[in-house]
């Protein structure tokens, strides 16, 4: 979209009669500007935190930002697809915990090989995503409600499976702790944030999927105008469901990233994380009303969230204030989205 509009800039300017230069360019600018602003804000934030806190400048902080980024990025990529269809997936936060608990339970208590735990984790995500998708597309439920109910179900389910116990995935030094090295590799004493590579690869793959494949095109079209898409002979239920399946799949991947980065997971946890992921997507320019959004934007937005989350405590802002600040950032991001929609109308 950016690319397309960028190329066209000059040509539309010359066409005064139709008024395209006038109606088109503000949208062009809004899309382009938002990405640029996000990058600038991100750099400004990093500079600010670096100046304020010596601790922020340390390598370990980068690693800790990365730990936050991995799972948020996966959740963000997945939920971006739901948001683009004009829906939302609220079950991803508790879902991530639930799937990681189930996978970890299998490894720790049933003593399955780690790979089984991994597959189970991802499979749980796929199943829950499929159910979400069907309830929304076939059942006609509002995405907000359907996934809110799923969130409650998953919260209960996770606790039920582990019997209320916290779960810790195998540690990095444990014989079966290779899942952790997938994300943070120890190379001669230096820890390399390998997970960033996976995030990058998946972001590129999903970005191509969104922009170049048929399902991707239909998912965007559904968010823009579902009825017109249906009347063009597109099976909208299938592609709407697919968006939730993708969200579920990436929640499964996020569960792996989370359990590799952090110590233990408590049953019933994870609530509220979905808002950080959704917030990242919105900051990155994905529209709450559907039809527009980019994976690159989501990744940038997620970085803002994780830098905030890592940086604020380091400059001595206490947890409650962090929540307030993040809330305000989201209000601003959503407001920008509202302004963009006004321009289109």
């Amino acid at each position: 979209m950016r690319q397309r509009l960028g190329i066209r800039g000059d040509e539309t300017m010359t066409d005064k009669k139709q008024g395209n230069a006038f109606t088109n360019n503000p949208i062009v600018r809004a899309i382009g500007v938002q990405k640029i602003v996000v990058v600038i804000v991100l750099i400004a934030m990093i500079l600010f935190f670096s100046a304020m806190s010596p601790a922020f400048r340390q390598y370990s902080t980068l690693l800790s930002i990365m730990d936050y980024t991995y799972y948020l990025a996966f959740l963000g990529i997945g939920v971006t697809f739901c948001l683009i269809t004009g829906g939302v997936d609220l079950s991803i936060g508790t879902g991530m915990f639930c799937y990681a608990l189930i996978g970890g339970y299998l490894i720790n208590y049933v003593h399955t090989p780690v790979i089984v735990g991994i597959l189970a984790t991802v499979a749980c995500g796929l199943i829950a995503g499929t159910i979400n998708g069907l309830i929304v597309s076939k059942g006609g439920h509002a995405p907000f409600l359907a996934t809110l109910c799923m969130m409650m179900i998953l919260r209960g389910l996770g606790a039920l499976v582990t019997g209320g116990a916290s779960i810790t995935w195998p540690g990095a030094t444990a014989p079966n702790g290779w899942t952790r090295t997938l994300f943070k590799m120890d190379m001669g004493g230096t820890k390399v944030p390998l997970g960033f590579l996976w995030v990058l690869i998946l972001a590129v793959v999903m970005s191509i999927f969104l922009n170049r494949s048929r399902p991707g095109r239909y998912i965007i079209a559904i968010g823009s105008n579902k009825e017109a898409t249906r009347l063009s002979g597109v099976n909208v239920a299938v592609y709407q469901t697919l968006a939730y399946i993708i969200s579920g799949l990436f929640t499964g991947l996020a569960a792996l990233a989370y359990s590799s980065a952090f110590q233990s997971m408590t049953p019933g946890g994870g609530g509220g994380i979905e808002l950080n992921a959704i917030g990242g997507a919105i900051i990155g320019g994905t529209s709450m009303s559907g039809g527009a959004g980019t994976i690159a934007g989501t990744i940038l937005g997620v970085f803002i969230m994780s830098v905030l989350q890592t940086g604020l405590p380091l400059i001595g802002i206490q947890a409650n204030f962090q929540q307030i600040i993040i809330g305000i950032v989201l209000i601003v991001a959503v407001y920008i989205d509202v302004l963009k929609n006004k321009k289109l109308a």
């Binding site: 139709q18 008024g19 230069a21 006038f22 088109n24 079209a221 823009s224 009347l231 063009s232 597109v234």
Partner: protein, 497 residues
């Protein structure tokens, strides 16, 4: 006609990159109906928005009741007595008629709303207008026509001196239009100044006293209606003559094969036992009043809405159409009457919209072949003479007529042989209209077949080879174009059980 009540002189307004109004004049007298005409994008709405304070003007003066004025917002204009009756009704469906009329200025009894008083006041307004509407009725239960009357009542309740009607007849039946005209004449006789914006030439002749024509943001001229002909006005609007001659005989060969046969179609209350045939190369007109069930028939046929019973045959083969996908596979394409809601995806490009129904043939492995997509879209932009700076232009930036062409392109790219055109020229200006007509004629000449639903009698008589008339969900007549007259169609369209 009485004294001048409103004068707009040399109104100039520019937006970045667009000179929207170029020194436009408009003069409205008390007790006249003054038509404001021009193609879409001529600047009529912008001029009215400047008048009512939605936009501020760059140059020029507005004199109202002898004083120079400049309203800062629509509320200020309303308080001064200038009100707009909008084309799209701004009604709150769940509230009652009276509550709608007095919205934002409720009659209070202490701290509470006095519904009883508002009902009485609303009843008085309706009396004054000579319309029979119960103020206590829920708004959504009224017909579009009645809702429009409520809008007018609301306008009058502001003690309006100048009322602007923005395409008021677009959604009304003939009978409702008659009633609307009666009210407008009444208001005129009460010495109000009325500005009437419409695309329908026939109405202009019937209801207005003077006509001001705009073109491309500029003022073209003002005519006295009774001293000018339809062609005079159209000439001023587009600078060329458009003939609206009715077709006299069918262009379809007697032995042309039947490409679509619908038998005993039933779908809800609005489609009762409808049967018809469509021949190759034929334009089959569907006429009837608003709410006759024509769109519902088309939607049921296309699989957009579920049907209860009925058989559909395409090229002699019985087909089972349950969803739009099935219909598209059978080679049927549907242009909806509500383009923006059902036809196009406004925030996507011309190319993306053009290939929407046939994306599978634009794949290169896993990926959409954007080069081919653009190329084919470009080809149809040229064939259909769609005015767009490029195929990567967002459809939202195109005019109504050109948006319609994009929808047509979508079905042509898909190579559909049966096309359902539901009100194909609604909200499209005169010039683009004749282009759409020409296009339809070219399509049938190439062997495509068209079902054309239209509420405009002239359109039906000009385009159709055969005419199906519906009334209250039933087919009440079928006429060959050679035997069709306005009277015969109207007769069938009002044939109730």
């Amino acid at each position: 006609m009485g004294d001048v009540i409103l004068t707009m002189k040399g109104i100039d307004k520019s937006f970045p990159g667009v000179h929207a109004l170029d020194h436009v004049d408009l003069e409205v007298r008390k007790g006249e109906v003054h038509a404001l005409m021009g193609e879409n994008g001529a600047g009529k709405s912008t001029l009215m928005k400047v008048l009512t304070g939605i936009y501020s003007k760059d140059e020029g003066t507005i004199t109202y009741e002898g004083k120079e004025v400049e309203f800062s917002n629509p509320r200020a204009a309303q308080d001064a007595g200038i009100v707009i009756v909008h084309q799209e009704l701004n009604m709150l469906g769940h509230l009652t008629v009276a509550q709608n009329i007095f919205i934002g200025r409720e009659i209070m009894n202490g701290k509470l709303i006095d519904d009883k008083k508002m009902n009485e006041e609303a009843a008085k307004l309706f009396d004054q207008l000579g319309i029979d509407i119960d103020p206590k009725e829920t708004m959504s239960r009224l017909t579009v026509g009645k809702q429009q009357m409520c809008e007018i009542a609301k306008a009058i309740s502001h003690e309006a001196k100048v009322i602007i009607f923005d395409e008021p007849s677009a959604a009304l039946t003939e009978a409702e239009i008659e009633e609307l005209f009666k009210i407008i004449r009444d208001l005129r006789d009460k010495q109000m100044g009325i500005v009437y914006i419409s695309h329908r030439m026939d109405e202009i002749k019937v209801i207005t006293d003077r006509v001001t024509v705009m073109r491309d943001g500029g003022y073209v001229g003002t005519l006295i209606t009774k001293d000018s002909t339809k062609d005079d006005i159209i000439n001023m609007m587009v600078g060329r003559v458009i003939y609206e001659d009715p077709k006299t005989e069918s262009a379809v060969a007697k032995d042309a094969p039947v490409v679509l046969k619908v038998e005993h179609l039933n779908a809800g209350r609005m489609v009762r036992d409808v049967s018809f045939e469509l021949r190759k190369g034929e334009i089959l007109g569907f006429s009837g009043l608003m709410g006759a069930g024509r769109t519902e028939t088309a939607r049921a046929l296309f699989g957009a809405d579920p049907k209860e019973s009925g058989d559909i045959y395409v090229n002699g083969q019985k087909v089972d159409i349950k969803t739009p996908q099935d219909a598209v596979k059978c080679g049927i394409g549907y242009l909806s009457e509500d383009r923006k809601r059902y036809g196009i995806v406004v925030d996507k490009t011309v190319a993306e919209n053009s290939t929407m129904a046939s994306l599978e043939s634009f794949m290169k492995g896993m990926f959409i072949d954007k080069k081919k997509e653009n190329q084919i879209a470009q080809q149809y932009v040229e064939t259909l003479k769609t005015k767009t700076p490029g195929v990567d232009q967002l459809v939202v930036n195109l005019s109504g007529g050109n948006q319609q062409k994009v929808v047509i392109a979508k079905w042509l790219v898909r190579n559909c042989d049966i096309l359902i055109f539901d009100e194909p020229t609604r909200g499209i200006d005169v010039g683009a209209k004749s282009e759409i007509y020409q296009l339809m004629n070219e399509l049938v000449a190439e062997g495509k077949s068209i079902i054309m639903i239209s509420s405009e009698m002239t359109e039906i008589l000009r385009m159709s080879d055969r005419i199906v008339v519906m009334c209250e969900g039933r087919k009440t007549g079928e006429l060959d174009i050679a035997e069709a007259t306005q009277e015969r169609i109207m007769h069938a369209a009002t044939l109730r059980d």
